[in-house]
């Protein structure tokens, strides 16, 4: 099963960079793997994402989120079904993420099943000011957050549960509106064709 780990965000808008930072560190910690590509800086959504995701069996997105009264450093786990009920990967300039994926599937593109789309969204404080540093509250929570996200990604990739954060009491919180923590369900059927282009490191 080929997985794409995608770090979403903007490296120069303070906490919006958190998905990028996490993708870099998680990707480095996981090391080279034949079943994993990492794109650690991605700022596109909607139809554009189809080009990136096509050919993969599984997608893991690390992104930021801002909810009412949310605590920076808290993180949530969504799958594609949850997102359909809440939002998308935010580039709604064209189509939302769920719609883009549905369109791609309808025309025969090889895309991850909904059950194999895992979005880990980190609660942030500041995505308004330009800056290359995380805000103080998120920076304070970052090391623990990174370890938890790494553990969670390992669960997604390999089913390893060691070191995984507890759903309650830790930073792993159920999102308001139905984004409750979920573990990957039955993997999608393996397919033989590989992604058109193997990609790693920074988004081109």
């Amino acid at each position: 099963m080929k997985t794409l780990l995608l770090g979403m965000g903007n490296p120069i808008v303070t906490d919006d960079a958190v998905g990028i930072l996490l993708a870099r560190e998680v990707g480095a910690a996981l090391g080279p793997r034949p079943d994993l590509d990492v794109i650690d800086e991605c700022c596109i959504g909607g139809l554009n994402l189809l080009d990136l995701v096509a050919g993969y069996d599984r997608l893991v997105v690390l992104d930021s989120i801002k909810t009412r009264d949310g605590v920076p450093g808290t993180w949530y786990r969504f799958d594609a079904t949850d997102l359909r009920e809440t939002m998308n990967l935010r580039n709604v300039h064209d189509a939302n993420f769920a719609t883009a994926m549905a369109l791609g599937r309808s025309v025969g593109m090889r895309l991850p099943d909904d059950a194999e789309i895992h979005i880990l969204a980190v609660e942030i404080d500041d995505n308004i000011n330009f800056g290359e540093q995380l805000s103080p509250p998120l920076a304070a929570a970052y090391d623990e957050l990174r370890d938890e996200i790494l553990a969670e990604v390992r669960v997604v990739l390999d089913g390893q549960t060691e070191g995984r954060a507890a759903p309650a009491g830790g930073r792993h919180a159920a999102a308001a509106g139905g984004g409750e923590a979920k573990v990957a369900t039955t993997p999608a059927a393996a397919v033989s064709d590989e992604p058109a282009t193997a990609r790693s490191a920074s988004w081109r």
Partner: protein, 488 residues
């Protein structure tokens, strides 16, 4: 007592925006505010950095039109280094930029504009999207859209190495040229993109112009605005997206001013309203006269339709044919029907494809004189391009060491802030009346008013909002009266 309806965030728009509609006791619209948060601190962020870094930084401002910022920034930086950019570099940049336009216009038409017409303004919101379009007009359309976008993107990749976070433009030119082999890859894709542009135009004729109700909505509906128009033109006053002078034409079609990029501060000023983070540009010499139309207005639109309104002609023959058909149908220039923006984008897309064809046939395009290393620092530059959403201005200064000392940006959508506000209010006032409770169809028709402008407030942030994509809240007597939600 005022009731308030909030549409937050607006569906199918980049960034987090909110529309608030204020109703009086009888249920008539009193006012309408279009609000968005604005990113802060860009100028402080870039001050003190090497000026040549800015074209690479500004691509992060917006994930939707990164090439527009890259090009405007590159031209401003060229100015800081004495404008020693060879002609071939300008051609290559222009070639890239026309491919970028096609990529963007396809997305807007099929994912944002077409659902309102193909599916209908009051159709089920769950299907009023590109899936609904495909469901109505055929699965092959979906495949063609994806393929055409992929080709436009591939051309950008070949020319500039990336289609986002571009690092291609350098002071004095571009980092790489276009080889014969690369041109051979590009040429057949350009042919297909031209065909796709014509196909899209025909789809518009069939679906929109073939429906009398839609034509009536475009021409006679509440979606008209009597303000001035702004857009970039070449030396023949033909539409240009990358270079030229900015022409401003009044609401009756007479030229007010045509200015070179470095003169922009003599023409454009910005007004501040306490309820909006975003400023309201206006024509400086006319002064701020408020949100008014007609002879007393100092407001302008900078949109695809504006570009066609201010130009005397298109730059390419088939686009000219499409242009003539449009203005003949809509009654000549200037067209004030803002829903015609969607048609104007398709006319532009024909020019984009023809421009790419022109460059494919240009024997100089594979040359190697695509950069000169600047030998002087002159300290100031203004770069203007037409972003897909409007005239985009970057103005930089630097010190004798080439370190940035100031940066000022007027982004495409900001130009249209006042017109969007006025258009939204007009449509809301027309549709929401005493005794008429706003329903999903009415609210979507309000959204259509600003969707025509293709406004983009993304300016970089990609955080999930964590809330429903659309909230409509009606407040009566200061208390929640009615609330409902829907998805994109």
């Amino acid at each position: 007592m005022t009731r308030r309806i909030s549409i937050d965030p607006i569906t199918r728009l980049e960034g987090h925006g909110k529309i608030e509609i204020f109703l009086d006791d009888d249920g008539a619209v009193e006012d309408c505010h279009f609000q968005i948060p604005e990113l802060r601190g860009f100028e402080r962020f870039v001050e003190g950095r090497p000026i040549e870094e800015l074209p690479r930084i500004v691509t992060r401002i917006c994930g939707v039109c990164p090439a527009s910022h890259h090009m405007a920034s590159a031209k401003a930086v060229d100015g800081c280094f004495g404008n020693e950019c060879p002609e071939l570099a300008h051609k290559l940049r222009d070639m890239y930029y026309n491919a970028h336009y096609i990529h963007s216009h396809i997305a807007h038409f099929y994912a944002l504009a077409a659902p309102d017409f193909v599916c209908g303004p009051d159709s089920d919101p769950a299907m009023r999207n590109i899936l609904g379009v495909v469901d109505k007009v055929g699965l092959e359309i979906g495949g063609a859209v994806i393929k055409a976008r992929a080709m436009a993107q591939e051309i950008q990749m070949i020319l500039g190495g990336r289609f986002t976070h571009l690092v291609w433009c350098l002071p004095g030119g571009v980092a790489k040229g276009c080889s014969m082999e690369e041109l051979a890859k590009i040429r057949p894709m350009v042919t297909q993109l031209y065909d796709f542009a014509q196909f899209s135009l025909q789809l518009f004729r069939d679906v929109v112009l073939g429906n009398e109700g839609y034509v009536d909505l475009i021409v006679n509906g509440p979606y008209t605005l009597d303000v001035h128009n702004m857009g970039l033109v070449d030396e023949n006053n033909a539409v240009n997206f990358y270079d030229g002078k900015v022409r401003v034409v009044d609401f009756e079609g007479k030229e007010i001013v045509k200015y070179a990029p470095h003169e922009y501060m003599n023409v454009v000023a910005e007004h501040v309203e306490p309820w909006s983070y975003l400023k309201f540009p206006y024509l400086k010499q006319r002064g701020w006269n408020g949100f008014v139309e007609g002879i007393d207005s100092s407001l302008y639109c900078a949109t695809p339709l504006s570009r066609l309104n201010v130009a005397d002609r298109m730059a390419t023959p088939k686009a000219q044919e499409a242009h003539d058909e449009m203005f003949k149908t809509l009654g000549g220039k200037p067209v004030k029907a803002q829903l015609a923006q969607h048609w104007a984008r398709l006319v532009e897309m024909v020019q984009n494809a023809e421009t790419l064809q022109k460059y494919c046939d240009d024997p100089e395009i594979t040359g190697d004189n695509y950069r000169v290393v600047p030998e002087q620092i002159t300290g100031e530059g203004v770069g203007i391009v037409e972003a897909m959403r409007g005239t985009l201005t970057h103005h930089y200064t630097c010190d004798e060491n080439g370190m940035c000392t100031s940066a000022n940006l007027i982004v495409g959508t900001t130009n249209n802030n006042a017109p969007i506000h006025m258009m939204t209010k007009r449509v809301a006032s027309t549709l929401i009346k005493p005794g008429v409770e706003p329903d999903q169809g009415i609210l979507n028709m309000v959204e259509m008013a600003f969707r025509a402008f293709d406004p983009c407030y993304s300016c970089a942030t990609h955080s999930l909002p964590g809330e429903m994509p659309l909230e409509v809240q009606i407040i009566k007597g200061g208390k929640p009266y009615r609330e409902f939600r829907r998805n994109c």
